[in-house]
Structures are given as C-alpha cells and as structure tokens.
Symmetry: C2
Subunit: 111 residues, 2 copies
Amino acid sequence: MARAATTSDVFNAIAEPQRRDILALLRAGERPVTDLAQELGMSQPGASKHLRVLREVGLVRVREAGKQRLYGLDAGGLRPVHEWVGGFERFWNESFDRLDTYVQDLKRTEE
Amino acid sequence: MARAATTSDVFNAIAEPQRRDILALLRAGERPVTDLAQELGMSQPGASKHLRVLREVGLVRVREAGKQRLYGLDAGGLRPVHEWVGGFERFWNESFDRLDTYVQDLKRTEE
DNA sequence: TTGACGTATTCCCGTATGGGAATACGATCG
DNA sequence: CGATCGTATTCCCATACGGGAATACGTCAA
C-alpha cells in the first residue's frame, strides 16, 4: 500500500499547475486539444493526458466537433473546493491577532 | 525528469485527504501531534510527516510547549486557493445554461 | 544522570504519476 | 479506398510520495 488513491479527486486534479492553467484558459471558451497544447507550451499527448484527468473528475466536458474535440469548462466541480476552503475564511481574518499572539510568545520565550 | 516538483505548494498540500482532516481539526484550536494522530486514526510518525508538509507550505504553525509541540492553524495560506477557485465562481452559476446547451447538442447529434 | 514521554527522522517498499516518444484511432476529404 | 489531420493510448523511465517499522532527539521529572 502506498500513496492512497488520490486520482479521480478534484483536489488532486487542481494540484497540478498545468491543469490549473488549462482550466483558466477554458474560461475564455471551448478549445480543441492542439490549441491548448500550443498555447500552454506542452505536447499534444501531454495536454490530452491532463484533459483526461480533468474530464474524469468532471471539471471539463468534451464535445465532438467533426474531426476535433472541443473541451469546455465545467466549473461546477470546483464548488466543493470553494466551499471547503471557505470553511476557513474566518480564520485567516483572525491571522493578525494570531500572529500577534505568536510574536508575544516569542518575545516571552527569548527573555 | 518526472512528476514536476509539486511539494511545497499549497494546492498540493491540501490534495491529501488526511491533511485536510488535520486542518479541519485545528480549527478547534492548537493540538499536540499525538492528539491529532489518535483522533484521526493515523500513526504518530504519519501525523508528523503530514504536519511537516503543512508547516512547509505555511498552513500550520508550531509552538513549543515544554515537552510537547502544539500545532496551530495558519489559514492565511489558504487564501490564494480561495481566490483562485473564486475566479471560477461565475462559471458554475452558468452551469445550467451550459448543461442545457450541451443537452441540446446531444439531441441534435442523435438525429 | 537516568528514565520516560512526545516528536521528528530515516529506511525501505510499492504505487502513482508526469513527461517524452512512438503509435493506434477515428473522422473527413480526395 | 487511401491520405491526412486531430486526438487518445501505450510504453518506459525517473521521481515523488504515503505508509509502516525502527530509531534518533529533545525536554522534563526523579
């Protein structure tokens, strides 16, 4: 056993910088694989692989368009992530207080 | 070359379910390693390792407390994630429209 | 100083990947 | 049908992890 099954999980899908780039690009609209690959400076197979992951977790949708396959954004899958992170929102607003406490503590320790 | 250096990146840090669990628990306040390990059903070394990753990306902060080391949440690091995902918010609100378009397209294809 | 307790490291293993190269597919056009 | 274009797969390599076991550390109590 090793590296618990992480794939097919949205959090893992967006952990890859290149995949985040793809998603960002798709906000502008549907695009064929080659287009994405070229624009992001990656190989076609590379783009296809990343798109596959994104498709499997439901962040992207494909549409057959003749010889091409147009990939489009399906942002709904990001909602759970947004909500999860949102659950911490009130904590980073307290950050200054906490940082202050931390600093006070350091001072006390140094004395 | 393989699997680009992903560690030391917030997105990657929260890609691990267990690490997300740790962060969630820490919202209730500081905790020593053993506590976390037990509560989450993981080994002490395991907890320490995950905490190390979280510390390196700045999501967690340590405070020496005698024999123990109290880990506390440092949610500020989640802000970039929240913002990134937030950049897609308006897209998942359009999801119904898009889904509709998609379905229309399927119908047309089947005819 | 010796022990005990709470943690962090180090090893080692097996699997999951990301990337590159070559190749297999599927659809459209002559 | 045969050629071509746009994509998806398959191999293979090297590395990054996550997990378990054993061990090294650092601190405090007796």
